[in-house]
Symmetry: D2
């Protein structure tokens, strides 16, 4: 007896729910939760079910595949801890929030390693008995530096997600491609406002009354990947840009941890540079 997450996306057509629920029924599965969404504009069907029962994973997956249209992507996942890599630079807040949640048993994740281009966070990370690797970018081209990071990553097998917890370097298309839809970033602004460097200074100069943070998957266009979660806080004229930055940290860590949790629970579909989140 086990619990399984079934994720299906496909071109929409009549009868998809019927077909899937028939398979669940024939396999004597309990449906614990069930979410569906159809994007009419793009004619795409999305479904996430949590089911409970006694199945042979491979044959169950085959029986769904046989029923579904060719366009379908089908995942049947037995919930277990996912393997994640954290990348950071010098800031502690977003990284620390994930490390404490991990320590408290709140995350369905094994943190394999923290990689940074500086060693500032080394002693902090090692308190949590998590391996820390410094890969300095000094005197290296972007490509050379990334090659080293990729090499380090390749030493771990089965990486589910790479989480950029304030990793302050731009990734090349080559890197992004290697971990497509697996790199989760936190951007210190309410995207798409204030793309680029020092968004808090930009926000301060524009005199905004709200600042925000956005967690998104990374794609080849900087800051333009599919958005997973966003949150804001109110500010006023008395905030210097450094005050905004400090307050921003509190939003950043909330949003990144929220996005990571959604990913670890297999709640996110990515398509058309957007996310469907159940």
């Amino acid at each position: 007896m086990g619990k399984y997450r079934v994720l299906i996306d496909a071109n929409d057509e009549k009868g998809l729910v019927h077909k899937v629920s028939t398979i669940f029924y024939k396999n004597d599965l309990n449906i614990i939760s069930n979410s569906e969404f159809v994007d009419k504009e793009n004619n795409k069907f999305f479904m996430r079910s949590v089911v409970d029962g006694d199945i042979d994973l491979a044959s169950f997956k085959n029986s769904i595949s046989d029923m579904m249209p060719d366009s379908a992507n089908i995942e049947v996942i037995e919930p277990k801890k996912k393997n994640i890599i954290l990348m950071a630079t010098k800031e502690m807040h977003a990284l620390g929030d994930i490390l404490v949640r991990h320590e408290a048993g709140e995350l369905e994740a094994n943190i394999l390693c923290v990689i940074s281009n500086y060693d500032d966070l080394e002693s902090f990370v090692e308190k949590f008995d998590i391996p820390f690797t410094t890969i300095s970018h000094v005197d290296l081209t972007r490509e050379e530096h990334e090659a080293k990071v990729l090499e380090c990553l390749s030493s771990f097998k089965d990486i589910d997600y790479v989480v950029l917890a304030k990793y302050m370097r731009i990734l090349t298309p080559n890197f992004v491609e290697a971990y497509k839809d697996k790199i989760i970033n936190i951007h210190h602004s309410f995207l798409p406002a204030f793309i680029g460097a020092n968004p808090y200074k930009q926000a301060y100069e524009r005199g905004v009354k709200i600042i925000g943070a956005t967690s998104h998957f990374v794609n080849n266009n900087l800051d333009e990947g599919p958005i997973i979660a966003q949150e804001i806080i109110h500010v006023d004229h008395a905030y210097s840009w450094r005050d905004m930055q400090q307050s921003g940290k509190d939003v950043e860590k909330v949003v990144l941890s929220r996005a990571l949790k959604l990913a670890l629970e297999d709640r996110i579909f990515v398509y058309s540079n957007k996310t469907v989140i159940f």
Copy 2:
């Protein structure tokens, strides 16, 4: 060809989704949206589907009933404007928000009448070409007054909801029973805090940093019916209780209109003094 909302609740058992989706499939219906929830603790199943197709309403409903367990409540609703009665006392904000939304075509509702125990709002309501009836409570017992209100209500057939838009009188069990799960109230506090009279004064004296409003169905225990929607705003020491009351009005109208919209779209199940909202 039409669009239908199908609402089902039943004691949970295996295969319910399968059965319903089979009927949808056999009737050649498109599923536009579909939401399910199982309350494990109470073993209750809830499902709301919006489907599109060409059916005979009565026979379709029968075919669902035949498949479902005896415990099931089944509604197949052809979306149309619902008939609502608004009740108010002297305050304009919550009532006015509904009247403007109605005028703007935002509500799937016909407002049959506004009933008040005072005539203060009469000229305001009549601007909107909505009938206004004053039923004064002066010199009447609560029962006598309610008898008059009930008589007035009974002159309208097919009332879907009675909306208390700051109607400042307590309803008797008799009244509540007559419109069970059809009376929507806005309570000027974040229930269950500050039950009873003048919650803003209570909130002020307690020195809270947040005030809120709660919309709920009315049952026999004052302020204890099933909650539909809640919202809050932040306040600080500089707010007098009248400032809190004024700010509270802005939350009240938002929450009541939100709850009403959910009701009009048939998104609410009531059970066990709670709501399931899809």
Copy 3:
């Protein structure tokens, strides 16, 4: 005996608070509330006091002027209803919210007139006994149309604020200059994201999880004037852009009414394309 709002901004220097409070003291005034802010970066001092007492307005103002540096702007305002003009196009939600607040006595304002480039809202506005003027832009150049609007405005004396309650036309620098820091707009997005036309469609396509609205003074750069208030709501993948637009309306009216209230209470300083709000 009366109540006065004293607003001062000046280049910052030592002793400003001392000087002002000395004048208050000598005039035997009660300070009801007092807010100060110094923008260190720009070396600007802002102060808003509400005082209570018996003064000669002109000589009191002079005595402050004498004490303050030459750079100072000083306003001593006896609170009274301000004169406002509302401008709209076809949408009812933001306009309706202001009209109901006005009717309920929530606003310190006289609404002199509603001006629109269409007559769709005429019967709605006239319900509230507010004059409505249609000034069609059809077959006119932007300049010709604005000349007519300006002519209409000039028929009212002492206009304090022109409120664009979803007035869907761009104003020329000429118009803006004529009512500098007096035109309050509501922009249907969380500026500076999604500047320009159909922000909800832009937001939908970007797959955002939050939509917002921004109220700001209008300056010569479209959508770039000083921000007064901003608010957001959460959305998800199930929102079509029309759903976002509908939800957006609820935020827009909240934000515009909040900004208008701040203006009517003389709580806003404008400088350096920003606002200081007490």
Copy 4:
């Protein structure tokens, strides 16, 4: 040259601001920020100023005392790290958030010690090089246990605040009196709703749509001390009470850290079982 926080509360009377600003002026101090509030109902005046300059602390304080009414409480504080004790039981989230902020240099505080009635958190706390003391309550009366805790506390001198980061034991009046207005608690509910044990279960059973957390100073009536900060999150029918509890943790840690920051920056006045926060 230094920076000072001046906090004054007194019975209100005319000229207080004038008197204080005169002293600032005579001492050639720059006012960096200045906040005032008068509670008309209780006739109380509150003022917090941050000033910059070169003063003799003792004589400066005396000169203020000489000018102020006898009722006045005056504090002139040279900002420095405050000494805090953290108390916890078994949960890591609120404690961990404070420890990471401390490590990141975000807090103006020295954490002298963490005290718990269990040793579950010992290894976690010691990662941060903070002393951890287990004082078990097993086989002790409440008074005996508290006597041990008080003895432990008395071994530290100059404790500014005792922070209950999910310390799950009720304190006696004796304990509270010993650290009056110095004990900051986080209550896992939006007080005054759901006072007492297992508020998440109460909230679940009531079917609320919002859950919250409240940080407050501890007084002799459990959960009824002066409120410092409150925050909420939205929940829905799909949340079990354990889900609410888990989500609640995220609010709890945000609210407790926010309250602690306000305390460390000397921004809180306590009076009449309320707080004034600048």
